[in-house]
């Protein structure tokens, strides 16, 4: 569905009303890929640890555009479009691997790990016949190279010429909280991906929506992993695009939930093996949960000792891929390692506390079909996008739309 002509403008002068056509408009989707993902925004590509030594590569995405991330023989990291200069075939087909150079399978054009075209098969023809004219310059059509910056083991890339330096883009409130988690050399522990039956923005809103956490996810609430009455807060970056929602591990909760008789406060619900939730205060600050997002599509997750990065790959207006990579640290003790394996039960498509997200965003996508001109209500915590102590707030969701509108010029 495309938005009816003339309505592709933000419908009100606040961020508290979001139009539903924004999740289903085909032309808008294509525009988002250009203006946001291939515009002046940093996209998370992979962990440095996924390029463990020189001459390795990992495929990733910039929005829907395929990208190759490499570590060259000197250890430097590069990223470029996964598209041959010749006819546009994928250069790298595998997810990851080791190689000294890259050859397109279609006509064997070759590239170095910086993305430079280094060889054209039969460029001068065979026996003086065929080949390319001497003045042809296929190098001019080489895959576009991304600007790459790494921060605390996270590799980001951008195609935008005006994207600010990465740390500036992350913002002063976000930087120390990435550093807080990514404080040591990382060890990858596993990966998978989740196909979301929704627009990419619905998942990012879900991540920034601290209001839903203990209402949708009963497992979370019942085991006091996270209640809105737990001490915590919401930090939103200046332009709204990046955020942190956090809560302390200790529950100082009153009886607000029970009194409100919410579906999610079933006291009779107890685990036979509560060891599943056993955790250690590995960061030494008592923070049991920190969800951090960076516009447009990156999430860094600490749920107790379950650590993961997630990146969103938009596929279509109503389909996205969420790529999860779980990690620990190289110096994890056996005890901490085992805790991470156990707590992996909390996250991902089969996670006790995150399985609902895939369904919930799909419900919005389906429920709003046919509601193009209607508006959703994003008014918890008022109209602003500022940081606050209360997580009964949609400030970070409004922040997302603030950043979105700026990037889209909407």
């Amino acid at each position: 569905m495309n938005a009816p002509a003339g309505i592709r403008a933000w419908p009100t002068d606040t961020l508290t009303r979001v139009p539903y056509w924004i999740y289903s408009d085909q032309a808008l989707f294509a525009e988002e890929m250009e203006r946001i993902f291939r515009g002046d925004a940093w996209s998370f590509l992979c962990l440095e640890a996924e390029l463990p030594k020189p001459n390795t590569f990992r495929t990733s995405h910039l929005g829907d555009m395929p990208v190759v991330v490499t570590r060259d023989k000197d250890g430097a990291i590069h990223a470029f479009e996964n598209r041959c200069a010749h006819r546009g075939a994928l250069l790298v087909i595998k997810e990851r691997g080791e190689t000294k150079d890259i050859a397109c399978v279609y006509h064997n054009w070759t590239y170095d790990l910086c993305g430079n075209l280094t060889g054209v098969a039969f460029r001068r023809g065979i026996g003086g016949k065929g080949g390319m004219p001497p003045d042809s310059h296929p190098e001019a059509h080489a895959p576009r190279r991304l600007r790459v910056e790494t921060f605390c083991g996270l590799v980001f890339g951008t195609l935008g010429s005006n994207t600010p330096p990465l740390e500036t883009y992350l913002g002063a409130d976000i930087v120390p909280n990435i550093r807080r988690v990514m404080r040591k050399p990382v060890k990858v522990l596993g990966g998978y991906s989740q196909i979301l039956p929704s627009n990419w923005k619905l998942y990012m809103e879900n991540t920034k929506d601290s209001y839903h956490a203990s209402l949708l996810h009963m497992f979370f609430t019942t085991f006091r992993l996270n209640r809105l009455s737990q001490k915590g807060g919401l930090v939103v970056s200046e332009d709204g695009g990046n955020h942190i929602s956090y809560s302390m591990a200790a529950d100082v909760a009153g009886k607000e939930y029970e009194q409100a008789k919410l579906r999610t406060a079933n006291e009779s619900y107890a685990l036979e093996v509560p060891e599943l939730l056993k955790s250690v205060d590995e960061f030494g600050d008592g923070i049991g949960l920190q969800i951090l997002s960076v516009f447009p599509g990156f999430i860094l997750q600490q749920i107790r000792n379950s650590l993961a990065v997630r990146r969103i790959v938009p596929i279509a207006t109503d389909k996205s891929e969420l790529v999860w990579t779980m990690f620990g640290f190289e110096d994890d003790t056996d005890e901490l390692h085992n805790i991470r394996l156990m707590q992996a039960n909390l996250i991902g498509p089969g996670g006790f506390i995150s399985m609902e997200d895939g369904a919930a965003v799909g419900f919005v996508q389906r429920g709003s079909r046919g509601a193009g001109r209607e508006l959703s209500v994003v008014e918890m915590g008022g109209q602003g996008i500022g940081s606050e102590e209360s997580r009964v707030s949609e400030a970070a969701v409004r922040g997302f739309w603030n950043a979105y509108r700026r990037h889209m010029g909407m």
């Binding site: 997810e95 990966g191 009963m218 685990l271 394996l341 089969g350 399985m355 895939g358």
Partner: protein, 154 residues
């Protein structure tokens, strides 16, 4: 052959319990201490330990079903397992190490049916007083992608 017959019967009853929504009996197919892991072929190939579900005891499997029934929110859905013939890899310490291919279709309450998962069960089957049970079951998914969510175990 007779041993494989027993494994085939165990596999068939295991899959039927899940497909018939008798999930409360699902943990009983496992040993009191056991290993249940759902992971991907990619993770296995790279030697990475974390997957989508992990349990080390029958009690943890009961917790998973309890959460599914009481806590987790998901649309009503069913599975249909189609299992291949089990293969006996080896006998070790009185247990049978077996491998069985599977395909699982997911049927949503609205009728939509899709091929949800394919893969293999890498199992260690042991004998208890009553018959055979899984001492270990590693569900190795061929694909790293899971559609929407993985609520019901595989």
């Amino acid at each position: 052959m007779e041993k494989l017959f027993g494994v085939q019967d165990l596999n068939a009853r295991y899959a039927e319990a899940i497909d018939d929504d008798r999930l409360e009996s699902w943990p009983d197919f496992f040993g009191e201490t056991c290993k249940y892991l759902v992971t991907t072929a990619e993770n296995v190939a790279q030697g990475l330990p974390i997957g989508m579900m992990f349990a080390t005891s029958r009690a943890m499997l009961r917790d998973r079903i309890k959460a599914l029934r009481q806590a987790n929110i998901y649309e009503p859905q069913r599975y249909r397992h189609v299992l291949g013939a089990p293969q006996l890899i080896e006998e070790r310490d009185g247990a049978l190490v077996t491998r069985t291919s599977f395909m699982v279709a997911r049927i949503m309450h609205g009728g939509e049916t899709m091929l949800f998962a394919t893969g293999r069960y890498d199992d260690r089957v042991a004998r208890n007083g009553k018959g055979l049970e899984f001492a270990e079951k590693t569900v190795v998914l061929d694909s790293r992608q899971v559609d929407t969510l993985l609520a019901i175990p595989l």
